[in-house]
Symmetry: none
Subunit: 403 residues, 2 copies
């Protein structure tokens, strides 16, 4: 039996006027999945922990984030298509604008003009014998990978996360010389990048076109690339992911899944999620395990927009869940979220997420897919780190432990 795992980012919520977006939404197909399957609630990382999307996905894939996670950098880099080596230090970067030594815009006005050219100029710098790999991502985003010896991820960011101040000096967090060394390399990179970018013709062109210059690079989310035992070795199956979010694609690539790109999928509420569902259905012909990630729910939550979240959930119901229920057979189908992002606080919370599993399960009386209906389900309350084992068990692919 094959498996399909659908995660709607940040879909869980708290109450706004007495109900959650899932409760307010018309979701006949999610409800059918709950009715035919078994339901419950899940702490994706651990009860009480506010998960990031990266730590939550790691945990749900069965990799303990408390042991393995140091920062988002390596996953952003993997998502941007950089083949990481074990021990690489990576950070998430922004092109930003600076005037008289102070940051005026942390995203260089979100203007992309000339960024490809500027990224190439910064690529391939060597500092203290260590190679720096730099690659542009979507929009103003980029990743920096520091590859070499005597490195450590335990350093502070150069991104001050506010304007009107200079870029921060990276500092070692612990007393190790590797951390001091890495902070020095990052500070030197920031200085050199600034001097390369400031006088660059592409920035002169941006200014001429009344755009902010992209004359500084700000880094954060520094982490070390951990060794993650590939999915195939771990579970004996080949997995594929469908995600339009670089960070999530990066987590999937880091555990050895193939990434399938879908045209028109963009991680926003206007994403072509119907095409993603279609791609997932097709991928199940080739792969034993398919992971489908949908981001828009989280975006609407961070915007604090209840109606946008409700409406996007209704789109997921009709454009994603309906075709999957119609077309996917002999497959364990799991619908859940990576964390809650309550509308009223506009940020991730530790509220457990609803989960429904369709397949060779004992069904329960729950007939709606919402946080509070699923809390009455026969799965009870489980932890994300155990989910993949259970999915493999339901697909008759789990190894027996003992005799």
């Amino acid at each position: 039996m094959k498996s399909l795992l659908i995660i709607c980012d940040g879909m869980g919520d708290r109450l706004t006027d007495g109900r959650t977006p899932l409760e307010a939404a018309k979701t006949p197909n999610m409800d059918l999945l709950a009715e035919r399957g078994i339901t419950g609630i899940m702490d994706t990382v651990r009860t009480g922990i506010r998960p990031g999307s990266d730590t939550a996905h790691l945990s749900i894939f069965g990799y303990n984030p408390f042991e393995l996670y140091t920062g988002r950098g390596p996953f952003e880099a993997a998502g941007a298509g950089i083949e990481l080596e074990k021990g690489d230090i990576a950070c998430r970067c922004n092109f930003a604008s600076m005037e008289n030594g102070r940051i005026t815009d942390r995203r260089a006005g979100r203007e992309e003009e000339g960024l490809d050219q500027l990224a190439k100029e910064v690529e391939g710098i060597t500092i203290k014998g260590v190679k720096l790999i730099f690659k542009r991502g979507q929009g103003h985003r980029a990743v920096l990978v520091i590859r070499g010896k005597n490195l450590s991820p335990h350093i502070t960011s150069t991104d001050p996360e506010k304007i009107g101040v200079p870029p921060s000096k990276s500092m070692p967090i612990d007393g190790r010389k590797e951390s001091r060394n890495t902070a020095e390399i990052l500070n030197e990179f920031t200085k050199r990048a600034e001097s390369i970018l400031s006088d660059h013709i592409a920035n002169k062109e941006r200014i001429r076109n009344r755009k902010l210059p992209a004359n500084v690079i700000l880094c954060r989310g520094t982490g070390v690339n951990p060794y993650l035992k590939p999915f195939e070795e771990r579970y004996g199956i080949k997995g594929a992911c469908i995600s339009a979010t670089t960070l999530i694609t990066g987590v999937c690539r880091s555990v050895g899944m193939d990434a399938i790109e879908v045209k028109g999928a963009n991680g926003h509420t206007d994403s072509n999620i119907g095409a993603k569902a279609k791609a997932a259905i097709t991928a199940l012909k080739k792969y034993d395990f398919v992971f489908l990630h949908i981001k828009g729910t989280d975006e609407a939550s961070h915007d604090g927009n209840f109606n946008a979240k409700r409406e996007f959930i209704e789109r997921i119901d009709s454009e994603v869940i309906a075709p999957i229920l119609n077309e996917v057979k002999d497959t364990t189908v799991v619908l859940t979220a990576d964390h809650s992002t309550p509308i009223n606080i506009r940020q991730h919370s530790a509220d457990p997420v609803p989960i429904a599993i369709l397949g060779d399960v004992r069904t329960d009386p729950v007939k709606r897919f919402t946080e509070r209906h699923c809390a009455k389900g026969d799965i009870g309350r489980i932890c994300g780190i155990n989910l993949m084992d259970r999915i493999m068990d339901l697909s008759n692919r789990a190894k027996l432990f003992g005799a």
Copy 2:
């Protein structure tokens, strides 16, 4: 207060035509136990893990199998009555039949003739200064214990688990010299046993009686005997077990329980389970903790026989649970399973098992003992490793942690 733990092996199930064997069975006594007690579901090892019977029982007795379990061998040996020492390497063996160097029957035709005599011939071999203890078990089964220095359980089996091939060569799984040494000893044992058995008069007699010769010994399930802190030290109580399954008796002996034998108890669906219940009731006069294991449910499950499982559950209800409810007083009584063995897959699964506890508990509204009724119970979903602590607590025998 005393405690009685009843485990029906593999009793949990999934749905066949919309119901589980427990749901289909008439179980007025189990239901009464659920009604008067408190109910829930339990992952005996961990959510999502497919437990073996040995790892599940270890966990339920409070011993972490992830730390302590290396293979079934030591428990089979303890079950067969060998007094194990810490560090002993043990494996489960079969007498098998070979012709022209190829295995023709992995169980020597299940014919017992002459096996006592043959076992004695193989007993007491010394290889490389290491003593080999060999003991016949039930039917074609036997155990081998390797006792000495420089040994390791990290070796492959000599049992190829198929016919038409020679016995496998045992190989070290890791690079340690202890593993290489142990594999060499096992290979030499296999060779010597073959040469002793082949020309033995008992085998000539078997052949004359048109039976397959028992001319080779196949080993598997190699494990090292761990040190398990005795039950009495751990919980401050003396325990006894009633089990007709060598492996389970072995786990119980390994944690220091006394094994009580019951005539007519055989681990099959025609076992004299009424006599086992009687023995358990009697044992409670002498022991603070009695463990009653019933195997037939698992056997019917592995056979994929829904009706046999349902009928056997009904036998447990009337022949085991009824007298216990009638005669056992002032005792915490726990009814559960070690794992699910769904009829439709005929193998162990990770589905949680139902549990009901009768005693000084808060009762709940659940009135039937089934997987889905118990999922609604007030125990919620717990893990097997925590059960003994709870049983001790309910029997007012748990130590206070803190002040």
